[in-house]
Amino acid sequence: MGMQSQDIIRRSATNGLTPLPQARSHEQEVAKLIDVSLCTGCKGCQVACSEWNDLRDEVGHNVGVYDNPANLTAETWTVIRFDEREDEAGKLEWLLRKEGCMHCAEPGCLKACPSPGAILQFANGIVDFQSDQCIGCGYCIAGCPFDVPRISQKDNHAYKCTLCSDRVAVGQEPACVKTCPTGAISFGSKAEMKDLAATRVEELQSRGHAGAGLYDPAGVGGTHVMYVLTHADQPSLYHRLPDNPHISPIVRGWKEWLKPVGALGFIATLAGAFVHYMGVGANTTDETPPPEPKSKQDNAEHDPNENGRDA
């Protein structure tokens, strides 16, 4: 049961007429578990990510906080978010969260992407951008409930964390996981990460963090990057981590309803035109003779959603 093979299970803007290879499907999903209760915000993950992926962002500015770079960019695929919070009893907490792609089981980016093959989802759960296929439309950003992808100002392609698919492909853990000094980031099969999370949540609850819990939001089918949160009852405390993330209704409406309807409309129009052509025939003109009648054919049998893994 490998976890590292890059078998594609979803591909952006691609129907299922020719199904993707599925024979080797007995594959485990991987996951990264980020335990915010162990994170010191050291940014080792930020550096390891940039170093491994050969990214060097601009040398920016200090804007009065520790967060630097100030936001995700096409050249910064993960950032630590620092939030200070005083609870009702006046106890100070420094809430630190590594932000980056969550590798959703139902990726909104992939659903929204109109460029065939620009976004892939692998059987192990990794959602990877093929930036050379990207047309820079930015729909992935609109589709992402976590506001993660970024369009490069240099090349107009979208970028985000790959979960180090190149490392995972050869059996290594992602760079951020390996480097994490405190063990706040773990990597393994999704099942094992959920078990680990349960242990951690239990320990945190025993230390008096009643709200501790796992963040693996169902609204996007669960994620392959999960958090152990000290306040899992209030995810938004952690720099606006969505309480209940889901793919935007507009993207869903467009991709799940409008697009098939549009396709059907297109097919129906085409079929109607053909039927009309067969039944009525072409207009004759002086320049060309009328065509000979041909045998009847129905293109409409090809329902675009019949075998489609994605609309």
Binding site: C42, V59, W94, K178, T288
Partner: protein, 1017 residues
């Protein structure tokens, strides 16, 4: 054919339809292109190394272009952690993870360059020209200013007008060459970064426990039940070592407590945080001692058997109003004769095991600490009383024999005029709790630079020799005088008193320094060592420089303009040099001190007549060698690529200059040439000694067959020494640094060992090699009672098998001394026990610790009543007095520190780290910011009486307003990382603000507590 309108429309329609169909996904999938990026390390050459930044010593895997074939020129393109390394286990912090950008920094120097007096530019010169010229400058200055005899006619053979800073990031092998180079010429002003960081640790721990080093090791932290982090911030300064704090918390249920002026990153994951006023840690810790003694929560049996609690102190020892007996106000020093034990007829110290004698150490300590009530502590420290008591109670619980607390500290305790005594207080707490020698206990000094431990071990400090021996002073005119002074007399019968072996270590050192020239008839070349009259530590030497008494200075891997306090004054001092030589991989502020950088360095180059040689050095990745981590592990690393351009290894630079200097002396003669010419420098290539031959020299050789007591040969002539136990004082052994003996033996390079087997409690004796004798937990005999039973069976690390001691760790004890033998576990002390009372000459400011205020303090009358407010034995130059500010003008307490993303002033040269913290900032509490109208991100000016810096304001809840002596007090945080060179945005050197005064015992500057004002600009 002709295209009619209809054909055109049909064709166009088909195209649009087809395109739409494709867009809608009807097209068959293309053959997929590369789905993932190619894995880039597949056959790249992998080289093992250790991180060059902090003292955790994380393992690195460096990947370079090519697979190692001769025809491929390796260039390191990726570095990640070594998963086999027992401490780092594959992790690297943001500094280590970004090392590849340090190696390839735009700030790396590629060729030697020269700045002429008064010039405004660098010019490229050849190595030949540079080294010729430097050798000539050194010789001319030495010949002119060498002092053979002092005013009293004593032979001193010292040279004071040129000094050297050695780099604590360089390897031990470079350090050995530095020592020989500097001392052969008679230099006394030889110092390394230890002077600016952990000097007080050595000054505190050696007199208390016997050795001045971290007692346990990084992995062992996981065995603790309580972790007190105070005077340090390991999550930021030692992030990967901090892994084991988290392990203690997760796997051992440990309680982690942080006491710090700032709620820092360590506090972010701790169970408990208490704020404290910077500079008041001594009062806090003395309050803990008072708590433990008044609540009788100490490990009684341990204290009675393993400390000097029962020793009886002389009647004339006293303490009154902040001063110990013997104080001379004029000299600002003590006559320490009363700081001593009562002696019996045989001259041994009087001991009262019943502890009834009121002059017993424990009773005097109880009386001494009684003034530090919780109320007094709260008034002085600003720590809320309930928080202080929580820390006391949590620590006190570990007085139980089967519970331990560990204390982790670093520069937050050392950087005070009272630094040594703060650390000593903490060590005393651990002795009272019975936590020293225990797995999961100890006093863990988290050292700074990657090899600062090694440079301390090698004695690269003004008044030191290798292996914690002292350089002789001018009154010690003969070897006998010296030995009488330094070899300790037995305080108690039957103790190991290991320093009685000093003559063996000293003579072995002399045989390494002078080779065949060291003979019994010339006292092994004793006269060739320079003799000191006073300390030439960095503060003292820059004071001399400021007075125009210094001509030349060599800064190897050291950036004193950025690292020393009171930067503007340091710049004035450097401007008075005739010549400055820097050896560094990077273009430092120091080498460019004469350049006008606007407000960041406002000088007129034409007024500065110093000639400067900027020599490009290799970095860690471009050499073989060993460095010593904080846990005393000597780890060997390997070269992964060649230095860039025309840069040389440090050993090559030192070797070449020294060889040229010797040639000049051989040819021309000059001032006292003997030590220069007699210094043993028998390397295959004297201009470029190899690390391997130097490492073996540090370990040492037998110069004749060495026999045991029964006359059996144990080491043959010419063989490497197996350990320091075989050393002799008759000239038959040579070893540069006795504590390193065993690091490279006949069995090979022990420092390169990679067996990470855990022999128990996280001990990995097969990984690298630790001094002394590969022991991983110091004083481990103290983890068992006198009968040899472990205080806590779960923590048993050594055991007596009926004939010998053995176990998971190497016993720090004579292996054949049985239980109940009466031999104490603190084998370096003549008493055999840990010292709650450290009498004699051990400390300059008192045998018990006392809280004294920082030189700049907001507290003008102490809660302790009538007392000496500031350390009465701290050295204070008259010139410095006008540079000190008062609280009326500078109402806020400031403290400097490091943050996780950056290491000192290096990583601003590494692009990837510059991205993580691109611009200078200071931290200001939200209440103070509100009062001053400062918003996050505003530019603010922070000024002290010595200068100002301007930086962005990080406004935070994490800096609390405190109540100190009944008044509100705000503190300001000043990270110390930016400057006018590097990849980050230009900034001010933060040490513009800090005061030029040092710890009374070690002259380590008071960077951690001073007064400032803050304004919005």
């Amino acid at each position: 054919m002709a295209l009619g309108r209809r054909e055109f429309l049909k064709g166009a329609g088909t195209c649009v339809g087809g395109a739409s169909a494709i867009a809608l996904g009807f097209a068959p999938p293309k053959a997929f292109a590369q789905e993932t990026r190619q894995y880039k390390l597949l056959r790249a050459k992998e080289t093992r190394n250790n991180c060059t930044y902090c003292s955790v010593g994380c393992g690195l895997l460096m990947y370079s272009l090519g697979d190692g074939a001769k025809n491929a020129k390796p260039s390191i393109f990726h570095i990640e952690g070594d998963p086999d390394h027992p401490v780092s286990r594959g992790s690297l912090c943001p500094k280590g993870a970004g090392l590849v950008d340090f190696i390839h920094s735009d700030g790396r120097l590629h060729y030697p360059s020269y700045r002429a007096p008064g010039s405004n530019e660098w010019t490229r010169i050849s190595w030949e020209e540079a080294t010729d010229r430097i050798a000539r400058l050194l010789k001319d200055d030495r010949d002119k200013n060498f002092i053979e005899k002092n005013d009293k006619g004593e032979t001193v053979n010292r040279w004071l007008s040129t000094g050297m800073l050695a780099s604590s990031a360089a390897s031990n092998e470079t350090g050995l060459l530095d020592f020989k180079f500097a001392r052969s010429m008679g230099m006394l002003a030889l110092d390394c970064q230890a002077r600016l960081c952990h000097g007080p640790t050595v000054s505190a721990l050696a007199p208390t426990l016997g050795r001045g080093a971290m007692t346990n090791n990084w992995v062992d932290i996981k065995n603790a039940n309580v972790v007190l982090i105070m005077g340090g911030n390991p999550a930021e300064a030692h992030p990967v070592g901090f892994k084991w704090v988290m392990e203690a918390k997760i796997r051992n249920g440990a309680k982690v407590m942080v006491v710090d002026p700032r709620f820092n990153r360590s506090a972010a994951v701790a169970d408990f945080y208490a704020p404290i006023r910077a500079g008041s840690d001594g009062a806090f810790l003395l309050g803990v001692i008072n708590y433990l003694l008044t609540h009788d929560q100490i490990q009684h049996e341990y204290v009675r058997s393993y400390t000097n609690a029962p020793f009886v102190v002389r009647e004339d020892f006293s303490f009154h109003e902040g001063l110990f007996s013997g104080y001379d106000a004029e000299k600002r020093s003590y006559d320490k004769s009363s700081w001593a034990y009562e002696r019996d007829a045989q001259g041994y110290a009087v001991v009262d095991p019943t502890l009834q004698n009121p002059r017993c150490v424990i009773n005097l300590l109880r009386q001494h600490a009684a003034r530090y009530t919780p109320e007094v502590v709260t008034q002085l420290t600003g720590t809320p009383e309930k928080d202080f008591l929580h820390v006391c109670e949590t620590l006190a619980a570990t007085s139980a024999p089967d519970l331990t607390s560990t204390i982790l500290f670093a520069l937050g305790w050392t950087h005070h005029t009272n630094g040594t005594q703060i650390i000593r207080t903490a060590a005393m707490i651990q002795l009272l709790l019975g936590n020293v020698g225990m797995a999961g206990g100890g006093l863990n000094a988290l050292r700074g630079h990657s090899n600062i431990q090694g440079y301390t071990d090698l004695g690269l400090l003004s008044l030191r020799l290798p292996g914690y021996m002292n350089l002789p002073k001018d009154s010690q005119q003969t070897l006998d005088n010296y030995m009488q002074a330094v070899v300790p007399h037995a305080d108690e019968p039957g103790q190991v008193n290991y320093w009685h072996n000093t003559p063996k270590f000293f003579v072995s050192l002399m045989k390494t320094l002078w080779g065949e020239h060291a003979t019994p008839t010339n006292n092994w070349g004793y006269d060739w060592l320079p003799k000191w009259d006073r300390s030439y530590d960095m503060l003292a030497y820059f004071e001399m420089m400021h007075q125009g008494k210094v001509n030349g200075y060599i800064a190897q891997g050291f950036n004193p303009l950025a690292a020393m306090p009171d930067k503007n004054r340091i710049r004035e001092s450097l401007s008075k040099l005739r010549f400055l030589v820097t050896m560094d991989p990077l273009d430092t502020e120091t080498s460019n001190f004469w350049q006008n950088e606007g407000t960041y360095n406002d000088v007129k180059p034409e007024d500065i007549q110093t000639e400067v040689f900027r020599l490009p050095a290799s970095c860690f990745a471009e050499e073989n060698g060993s460095i010593v981590n904080s846990a005393r592990w000597l780890q060997w690393h390997f070269e992964g690529a060649k230095p860039p351009g025309d840069a040389w290894n440090d050993g090559h630079i030192i070797g070449t200059i020294f060889t040229k200097l010797r040639a000049l002396y051989a040819k021309e003669g000059g001032a006292y040439p003997e030590p220069v010419l007699n210094m043993q420098w028998n390397y295959r290539d004297p201009e470029d000694p190899t690390p391997e031959e130097v490492a073996k020299e540090a370990n040492g050789y037998a110069l004749a067959d060495i026999m045991d007591d029964k006359g059996k040969v144990v080491v043959r002539r010419g063989e490497l020494l197996p350990d320091f136990a075989v050393m002799k004082d008759d000239g038959s052994t040579a070893s540069f640094c006795w504590i390193f003996a065993g690091s490279w033996t006949q069995a090979g390079n022990q420092m390169a060992r990679r067996d990470n087997t855990d022999t128990g409690l996280g001990t990995t004796p097969g990984w690298a090699w630790a001094w002394p004798a590969n022991r991983r937990i110091l004083y481990n005999r103290a983890s068992l009672d006198v009968q040899g039973r472990p205080w806590d069976p779960k923590r048993q690390i050594i055991a007596w098998d009926g004939q010998r001691w053995g176990g998971a760790d190497v016993p720090d004890y004579p292996v054949t001394s049985p239980p109940n033998s009466g031999v104490g576990p603190y084998i370096m002390h003549s008493e055999g026990v840990g010292l709650l009372f450290a009498g004699g000459d051990k400390l300059v400011d008192g045998p018990f610790p006392e809280h004294y205020e920082p030189t700049e303090t907001p507290v003008l009358s102490s809660a302790l009543g009538k007392t000496a407010l500031r350390n009465p034995a701290a050295r204070f130059y008259a010139d410095e007095k006008p540079r000190m500010g008062d609280p009326a003008q500078y109402p806020y307490v400031a403290t400097t520190y490091s943050i996780t993303e950056l290491f000192r002033h290096w990583t601003k040269h590494s692009r990837i780290n510059a991205i993580m913290q691109p611009e200078q900032f200071v931290e200001i509490g939200d209440k103070l910011a509100g009062k001053l109208g400062i918003n996050a991100g505003d530019m603010v000016r922070v000024s002290s009486h010595r200068g100002y810096i301007e930086a962005k304001a990080v406004v935070t809840k994490r800096l609390k307003r405190l109540s100190v002596m009944g008044k509100d007090l705000d503190q300001v945080g000043v990270p110390c990382h930016w400057g006018f060179k590097g990849a980050a945005r230009k900034g001010y050197l933060a040490n513009t603000l800090t005061p030029g005064i040092g710890d009374a015992n070690s002259q380590t500057p008071e960077f951690k507590a001073f007064l400032v004002n803050v304004e919005k600009v």
